[in-house]
Amino acid sequence: MEIKINHLTHIYQPNTPFESLALSDVNAVIPSGAFVSIIGHTGSGKSTLVQHFNGLLKPTEGEIHVGDMIISSSTKNKDLKALRKKIGMVFQYPEHQLFEETVEKDICFGPLNFDVPLEEAKRRAREALELVHLPESILDRSPFELSGGQMRRVAIAGVLALEPEAIILDEPTAGLDPKGRRDILDLFTRLHKEKGMTTIMVTHNMDDAALLSDQVIVMDHGRCLMQDRPEIVFSEEKTLTSLGLDLPRAMRFLRKAGQKLGQQWEEPVFSTEKAAETIARSFVRKKGGDRS
């Protein structure tokens, strides 16, 4: 499902002494089936932006096209519910939303709110649990007895059980240990690749943004500064640095190594493997040159 953002402006608490401009004339497109990362430092408007995609916030000005729906300041609240069914949202620390007595009830909660029949909801719960790699045996357990990583996966299963067409992730790995982090990222990469799910991820991790996404949106002070393929966004070193954003680790390493070795390694390279290839190429060329 394509999401198109046209001249979106959002003002918090308008006409009060606390009025503040959170988004200002944002234009962007999330192509159907794409994996899009949104980067920017804290307070740049990333979270405010994505909360418009499933109608948790309404534009002050401008509009958002989600599939064939249009959301503007005059959209009625009851129409937003249909939108939320299509677009799932995983908040930061989603385990904080768990409340039911059992894991099963909690996962079924969303589908039941959208009038999915109970049997179907239960079927979805099992399926979602499998997607997040948790055993069916925990269905009857209280979500509050689980470990932190498991709780997070149950909460994610609760969103997946809505069977959304697109999913929004607001820093989905915050606070997890490295293994938990890998598990969650693998899960969403898989969903994106296998089910073609449109995925929108807000992240502070430049490596994740570079490695996982088709498109990167750069936010700053409520404005969308750039939207492009990661190779192009991360070539704009000066812009990113001025925003207090880093380059991916591999690129930083290449620059450091290049300085010492007298090489201009400035191409966008995101993985250690690709960085090693770049370095290896220069070694081989030199060898070849020696031989001749």
Binding site: S20, N77, R84, F91
Partner: protein
């Protein structure tokens, strides 16, 4: 998210800078001496004191009005009640059962001034004093109660921690509401029963979160050496200035005037 705790409006007027103890004592005594007034002169004094307070505090009238709004109804109601049911003096207007007498009108005006004065003066206290300063003032003023085992320190600490966590919990509430809305909860429409039910997915996580916070906080406090009131010193220092003595003197003069001039 931005919000004001209580109604405190930061400022730099002489009233803002007064010791919270002086202001608390004043409001406390004022509430009593209001009842001494019983003729135009004495009510005039009360009004004068109140208006002077507002002017000196430099708090815009609009803020005072906002504080007054929720209780305005009560004032009007009391006014009407007194106007209708006091049947002494000359009749001013009469229409069937309805009768407005001079005494009734006078009574209504006086009672309204009383209420108004009490409410405005207390509002002025909360508008010009930060909640934490009020807590400090109360803690110091209530200290003598410790002799009777009243947990003054714990009470004050509880108040200040509550103040500290109000914004955090508000933010959390908003977050959980949004998370549940994303899962299809509708907080704003439907029957009363339906809406009541919608509160559960909000309240449970909120309580679970609050308990977790309380646990964490208790541990952090212990790690930082908190062991109750024993051997504790205090950083916040209340200083009594000339202006505070001044305030109490004005209050004493007002009290004396009320006693002397009442009929």
């Amino acid at each position: 998210m931005k919000l004001i705790i209580g109604q405190f409006v930061p400022g730099d007027s002489i009233i803002h800078r007064m010791d919270p103890r002086a202001k608390l004592i004043t409001v406390f005594i004022f509430v009593f001496i209001v009842f001494l007034a019983n003729n135009p002169w004495t009510y005039g004094f009360l009004l004068a004191f109140t208006v002077l307070g507002i002017l000196v505090s430099k708090v815009p009238f609009s803020f005072i009005y906002r504080g007054l709004k929720p209780v305005l109804f009560i004032i009007i109601f009391t006014f009407i009640l007194n106007a209708l049911f006091t049947r002494q003096g000359d009749v001013l207007i009469s229409a069937g059962w309805f009768q407005l007498t001079t005494a009734g009108l006078k009574q209504a005006i006086f009672i309204s001034i009383r209420l108004l004065a009490i409410i405005v003066v207390t509002t002025l206290l909360t508008l010009t004093t930060s909640p934490i300063a009020i807590t400090d003032g109360l803690e110091t003023l209530l200290k003598p109660l410790k002799k009777w085992r009243f947990p003054v320190h714990e009470f004050a600490l509880m108040m200040s921690i509550a103040l500290r966590f109000i914004p955090t919990l508000m933010e959390e509430t908003e977050k959980i509401m949004k998370a549940q809305m994303a899962r299809g909860v509708d907080f704003s429409s439907g029957s009363l029963v339906k809406r009541g039910k919608a509160i559960i997915p909000l309240l449970v996580p909120l309580f679970v979160g609050a308990f977790k916070r309380a646990e964490d906080l208790a541990m952090a406090m212990e790690a930082r050496g908190y062991r109750g009131d024993v051997g504790r010193t205090k950083f916040r220092l209340l200083k009594w200035h000339g202006r505070d003595t001044g305030l109490l003197s004005v209050l004493a003069v007002l009290t004396a005037a009320l006693i002397l001039m009442r009929g």
